[in-house]
Symmetry: D2
Subunit: 344 residues, 4 copies
């Protein structure tokens, strides 16, 4: 390994926007950096951003936040497993004292579990301040396991991660129990704006969303997913802000819901699993720090607030790109035409 030097993979990056965001997390116009090889993404998000500034804004709401790690322990049989598990769940305070030794920020907020045969999959759920928290929760689990094995000698170590976490995999558990920031963004767009800027109508967008994102994904055997391309915006935003982009796997499991309200288009993106941090791994690199600063996510705020702000901006960015692509697909030929134009 020693012979291999560290170099750099310079991914094309561009700032897009501004996007108009409102709601309880932030209320301002802000431009976002997007790093991607798929450069047609820039004008696509840009079109959505331009729509946003002509409206009241994209309202973002953070519903929940947590990071999880599921340890895997074994007992002699299911009954022993159940007895131990019931006891463990009643000792949250003691476990939190153990956690406190591993980090100033990690705080155990819930435990969920599954027993299969004689095995315990114990999902430990933490808040992790402004970090996405992967290492923090692994570190916490690393402290909790020896404590548990001492307190419950009838249990045996099986793994520090039993995949019930569940990290970077297409699963249902993260959406149901929560992992990362849970963000909803909503926008109201007038018919006139739909027609003039998106070359479509509220009805067409609603109809396409049902047939493509909801039904199409479902018959594809989709899992908690109903969107056209959340993944593209997430990848670009994650790379530009020093996030672990492998988490776009759960991040992309989100839902578009649109409806005609009065004469307007109501368009929303629900992203239950945005794993994001403003500090931690991937941060510290110059351009990342600059981008985070540009996004206003390096300010003095209460612990966790910078990360929530980052997640809210990310979700609004996703909405811009999703809206733009769906609108384009309501018109035959428009998508390819746009691609060809951009690549010339």
């Amino acid at each position: 390994m020693k012979a291999h030097k560290i170099s750099q993979a310079p991914i094309p990056m561009r700032t897009v926007g501004p996007i108009k965001i409102c709601g309880s997390v932030l209320d301002e116009k802000i431009s976002v950096p997007l790093a991607t090889y798929e450069t047609p993404l820039w004008p696509s998000v840009g079109r959505g951003a331009r729509i946003s500034v002509l409206t009241e804004g994209i309202k973002t709401t953070v519903i929940d936040e947590r990071m999880s790690r599921s340890i895997l322990l074994e007992a002699d049989d299911a009954y022993e497993a159940l007895q131990a598990l019931n006891s463990i769940k009643a000792r949250m305070d003691e476990i939190n004292a153990v956690v406190a030794k591993s980090s100033r920020f990690a705080k155990l907020i819930d435990m969920n579990s599954q027993i299969v045969a004689n095995m315990i999959y114990l999902r430990l759920e933490f808040t992790t301040g402004d970090a996405s928290g992967h290492n923090m929760v692994t570190n916490a689990a690393d402290k909790i396991i020896p404590w548990l094995l001492t307190e419950y000698p009838q249990l045996r170590y099986s793994s520090i991660s039993g995949n019930y976490c569940s990290d970077k995999k297409a699963t249902a558990v993260n959406g149901i129990l929560g992992r990362g920031k849970y963000v909803v963004c909503e926008i109201l767009i007038s018919r006139e704006l739909c027609e003039r800027r998106l070359k479509t109508t509220p009805e067409k967008v609603v109809d396409l969303n049902i047939k493509k994102n909801l039904i199409g994904t479902m018959i594809a055997g989709g899992l908690r997913s109903a969107n056209a391309h959340f993944a593209n915006m997430l990848l670009a935003f994650y790379l530009a802000t020093g996030q672990d982009a492998a988490n776009i796997i759960e991040g992309s499991q989100g839902i578009v819901h649109a409806e005609v309200r009065g004469d307007d288009l109501y368009f929303s993106c629900t992203l239950p699993n945005l794993i994001m941090g403003s500090v931690g791994n991937g941060k510290g690199i110059d351009f990342v720090e600059e981008n985070l600063a540009m996004l206003g996510c390096k300010e003095e705020r209460e612990s966790g607030a910078n990360a929530r702000r980052l997640a809210a901006i990310c979700a609004a960015t996703v909405l811009c790109g999703e809206l733009s692509l769906l609108a384009a697909q309501t018109n035959p030929g428009e998508l390819m035409e746009a691609h060809l134009k951009l690549e010339r």
Copy 2:
């Protein structure tokens, strides 16, 4: 938009290896570039690579390759949809003639479909030479749609993509019908090597794989996934070689199978959806071209061979990292210890 200049997001990159690969696609020792913020990945893959060179090698087999785009059309009712669909499926040659006008490389090899209510989700499946093929198949679909609407005036356009493709989403369809390269890699590791270099035993790895990757992922509501962290290796390899890394979503839906054979550990990774190209979007950038050349994927070969080679190398890289992490997790404390050491 004009005010925003294109800059670069320089992601840390390092070459790891060599990995010893054998089998029908390539038979050589080769080092691989990995770009990631999660730099502990380098020594992890490196450890797997060092194992590989002490064995017969990682045998890679490419099972299949194709790229898909599903268009969405509507008829008046399900019966009309069925009649049209049956006719369309019988005209593959004519459709391929239409496709030929859109690209020298795209060739329609199969059609799969779903009818829901009065809607037709028609999944067009192509070979696309050395390109991953996203744009090629969209372009082909863009030519096929007007042809279909002319030939079948009873059909109406609904979308150029009906999400039955299915691009960058957690679905089952890609694994079942195929999308990207379908690659299997296998390695046989002696007990002695397991113990000396991986600090584990064949039995421990087999046991952990069952309890964590198979059962753990399943109870998490996982979809066609049984692995610890395919996503990490895929992201790093994709970024280093100019791939659209949002495709790690389907790419990470793969399966580890391990068993004790005689006194050895048989360890395999099956990756049914590696979407990869040696040409196309993301390529053309200097460091990407250098990396592809280093991997021997810019040679004069029959169309598609460079991309298959790239996919085989990528899959072998995944195996190295997966083996290393699983081995580490068989031992309490090892994972965190390794992380802490690296971050010092």
Copy 3:
């Protein structure tokens, strides 16, 4: 075992209807028998049936039919598996000759496969005449396996069923590749009829279907399912007609799509996996034969036609019950009120 005599479990049964059915399979008014402990199902289906006779009818279309069994074989490695598999797939005619020895009716129409590590999951797909075909395809597989092991001595037996079939399990494969009859039913209901008989509006039904069946099921981690209670009607129809009711597991994985068309409600149920037969196991019992005769499914028809007719009637029955429940749920309090009234 000898001491245990065979007795009977008499499930409450009632004939409901008539339902007005139209389309390519049958065009008539027909009453259906439903056996269930959940007797409020009868008036619920009955309400839907009464709606149907006030319209043009429920149009049913059979899209496809097949029954599958996946055998599981092993080779030394993935490459050997691939070579053997490619050869096997090219010998469909020879395999069909082997199948012909096992049954007059079974006919192999397609093969699909997966390779994982060194294993081959070979999904054999057959038409099976008027039988649902479970035993027929198992019997065929039982003949095919020794033939394959003789022709390909490099392969080893692993299982006559590798669960890629996939029988009575919540999977995606049956919907994507087909298993059982694939039936779509559609009805057009005027606003006036919606209001007078269903106490609702087209808009309310469409809205509820989106929020409950599509989005609600999706966030529940649903798999290829978007309906309120297909399972209830299927169970009752299956029990009354001698079907293996454990197949309601895949049968219930179906989709409701509704939209406002002009001033009417378009309401459809897509059931891709109705495993049904008019002959075979469960048939031969007096009341079953009577029910099948009442449904017109014991007539002299070409092979398969009686079973398709049965599936079409079953699907229309599902639509009646689904429509009625959805309409009820659009009104707060109506569901419980109806239950209480019935149970008095």
Copy 4:
């Protein structure tokens, strides 16, 4: 409707056993009634039962129990939804007072929720005594909704069931959050017994379980399922004991885990979603009451104990049939031979 009389569908039924069951719920030998058209199921379960009496018994453990109903409400936007939801979750006691008016037995024990766009999917989870509880929770929800709409005038009714419950559908939520009885059964079978009575070895059963139940189901796009035919035993037991058999859909989503322990076969079935009651709908019919009495589930016990006992017996029955089929499939030809013998 009036013209249609209620009749009966007499399903073939036979008592099988005795099965030897041990553990915390019951410790005795007990025979079970099974009603099914698939009569080869009887000897299959019978073989497993005979194995059980030659061992220490099938150890059954009830991990959890609850029944759920998810209501669907709407606010103006996601922020309003979140504010209301947070308040509602803090008022569990008040809601339980409302519930108490609807039933003596229903008790709200937890609430889980999802927010999508401006919609709240609120999953109310209850214990329901000895009833499976479908009607009890619907009735409770019917009381809770008007109370909520009065307390939170900013919320609007959307549906009494938002499909996040999730009833009779292939979803992940029931396994993760719980619905019905969560039962694990385990048995230890000596090598000698495996060989003599099951014509197999511990190793063969373990191997087949991995390749068929775990990997095979997974590549089929299976959801929280790893078994060969839980559904068959469930259907037969449900019909014989007056259960709503449509609940085999979630009931069949269970997991087999087997391993070689010393020289024995450890074989377990985990059934997280057994929806069962000893009172309620379907009960009251003579043969059902007789069967429940024969199973010892009509005794004077604390509320819920009869239903737990029933679930434990049901799960042990499932294990018997699953073990028998898996053992048969380890031997080529055995399955079909057994079928043919039985049908002669």
